[in-house]
């Protein structure tokens, strides 16, 4: 029963992270793909940081930044009455940061593949920059969105370090699958750990299989 709760909570966390990240990452990826700004490499590096930082480092800084004693944490408490740390809301926030590159990078790649000539043509037809993004680039970047959504969902499902630092292990609140597996191993309940670990392994494999399938089709479309 507790494990099923962890499965549900993990799905909810991954689903919310994916749905929230898509609209947040889209303008950022568009800006990174089109802007000539000299700030672009710096922003790209910041976005990619979660790929190379140990999750515990990211979790530690998020804990420092968002605890109720910090300005941001205190502000959150003042408007919601609840703390961001050791709560599901805090996990969502941390996941948005941690999974950001997994949504931004496929979108960035997809947007860069939209020919500048096509966007110029759209501009001469009366499309503003926002119009070009929404009505020209987005329809041509559907596969980039699908890839980003699958990678973000799968990556959030597999989170451990950041979740442990920000959320701890509160059943029904922050105890997601990876934490449940860790707890089963700690209590030497290897059978239960096996079931959850095998489930995650299969899920991860299928996710990547779909992503590579999508990527393969995309290459063919571009060649066509």
């Amino acid at each position: 029963m507790a494990d099923m709760q962890a499965v549900w909570l993990t799905g909810l966390l991954a689903g919310m992270t994916t749905l929230l990240l898509a609209p947040l990452a889209t303008p950022l990826a568009w800006w990174l793909a089109r802007s000539p700004s000299s700030l672009r490499p710096i922003i790209e590096a910041v976005v990619a940081l979660p790929l190379v930082l140990p999750p515990t480092v990211l979790g530690f800084y998020l804990l420092v930044l968002l605890n109720p004693g910090s300005p941001m944490g205190a502000f959150w408490v003042s408007i919601t009455g609840a703390s961001l740390t050791f709560s599901f809301s805090g996990l969502v926030f941390a996941s948005l940061v941690y999974s950001l590159p997994f949504m931004v990078q496929p979108l960035h790649t997809a947007f860069r593949a939209v020919p500048a000539a096509t966007l110029e043509a759209a501009a001469t037809l009366g499309a503003s920059s926002r119009d070009q993004l929404l009505n020209v680039a987005l329809p041509l970047s559907r596969r980039g969105f699908l890839t980003g959504a699958i990678l973000t969902f799968a990556h959030t499902v597999g989170e451990f370090g950041v979740v442990l630092m920000m959320g701890g292990n509160i059943p029904g609140e922050t105890r997601v699958l990876s934490i449940a597996i860790y707890e089963h191993v700690e209590t030497l309940n290897y059978d239960a750990a096996h079931v959850l670990a095998l489930g995650l392994l299969c899920f991860s494999f299928i996710s990547l299989w779909v992503v590579y399938g999508v990527a393969g089709q995309r290459v063919e479309v571009l060649r066509g």
Binding site: A117, E120, T124, G126, S128, D131, G224
Partner: protein, 314 residues
């Protein structure tokens, strides 16, 4: 009162500089001529606001589109343009109708003397409306691009070799239609082409560009007198850039000085500005020459195909 287009400024690239000081009355449509690389396409891109590094002023009537330090004072999408690019640039992944809808939805104005249906019929596009643009031929793509530009109901039309992929008969027909529509709608047109017969029919002024500078500007009739007789104009050629391994890749506009249909020999003369290109052609080279203007006066024996022949340089 007809709007004036004033352009003063410069665009500098590593191996090319466009240096403009232009004042054109757009009461009459304008033809733009010049050798390959003279800056014709770049001039249209500057007017369209697609060259962010252009430093200078662009004034269209009362509107200042660009001035020193502010190249996008009026951004491209608000200039009310209808642009036909040389490579058509249809929106991919859509049908012809969806491309039209994109333009119609964002049209600069609603009223027009020319109905959309008559444009579609006039350009022979009615059977292609449901077709995806990826499946169209080069000529069809160009005709769709011309229709789409007209559907934006522009205040200024910019066309860059818009009919070059169509055969001679179609081009003649399209040029006539285009001439009627532009006149009926009162839209100023700036038309880039190597085909003098198109320029003569569609425009009444001409600009001549050479190495990024305007070297001539005047009435189209003056051009006719300057270059030669009407027959020489219609026998003006472009060397094909559709090279195969056995053919030279050159693009130029030699004038046919003399022709001998019985022996299958034509004597071509290149302009002074194209002499460097001429130096790359050696005696005995196999050349593919494509007529971009009316070549009917050349004689049948020079034309294995209606608008193209092949031969050796003497």
């Amino acid at each position: 009162m007809s709007p004036c287009l004033v352009i003063e400024g410069r665009l500098t690239r590593p191996r090319f500089t466009l240096d403009l000081a232009l004042d054109v009355n757009l009461g009459h449509s304008v033809g733009v001529m010049g050798a390959t690389g003279a800056g014709k396409t770049t001039l249209l891109r500057v007017i369209a606001g697609l060259e962010p590094h252009f430093a200078g002023r662009i004034q269209f009537g009362e509107e200042t589109w660009s001035q020193a330090g502010q190249t996008d004072l009026v951004p491209t999408h608000r200039r009310g343009l209808g642009v036909v690019f040389q490579d058509s640039r249809l929106l991919p992944g859509r049908t012809v109708q969806e491309n039209f809808d994109f333009a119609i939805k964002r049209a600069h104005r609603r009223a027009s003397a020319v109905a959309n249906d008559s444009i579609i019929t006039g350009l022979h596009l009615e059977h292609l409306l449901a077709a995806r643009v990826e499946g169209l031929s080069g000529g069809e793509r160009q005709r769709v691009a011309v229709a789409r530009a007209l559907f934006t109901r522009p205040q200024l039309l910019l066309m860059d070799e818009p009919l070059s992929a169509n055969d001679m008969a179609q081009r003649r027909q399209m040029t006539e239609r285009l001439s009627e529509w532009v006149a009926a709608d009162g839209v100023p047109l700036i038309y880039v082409s190597h085909a003098h017969d198109e320029l003569l029919q569609l425009t009444s002024q001409v600009l001549i560009l050479d190495h990024g500078r305007v070297t001539g500007q005047g009435e189209i009739d003056a051009l006719r007198d300057a270059v030669g007789s009407a027959e020489q104009l219609s026998a003006d050629y472009s060397m094909s850039n559709r090279a195969t391994e056995s053919r030279r890749v050159v693009r130029s506009r030699p004038v046919v000085l003399a022709k001998d249909p019985e022996r299958g020999i034509a004597t071509l003369q290149w302009r002074e500005s194209e002499k460097s290109l001429l130096q790359s052609i050696s005696s005995g080279d196999t050349l593919a020459v494509e007529a971009v203007a009316d070549s009917s006066r050349l004689g049948a024996s020079l034309q294995p195909e209606p608008d193209e022949y092949e031969g050796q340089a003497d």
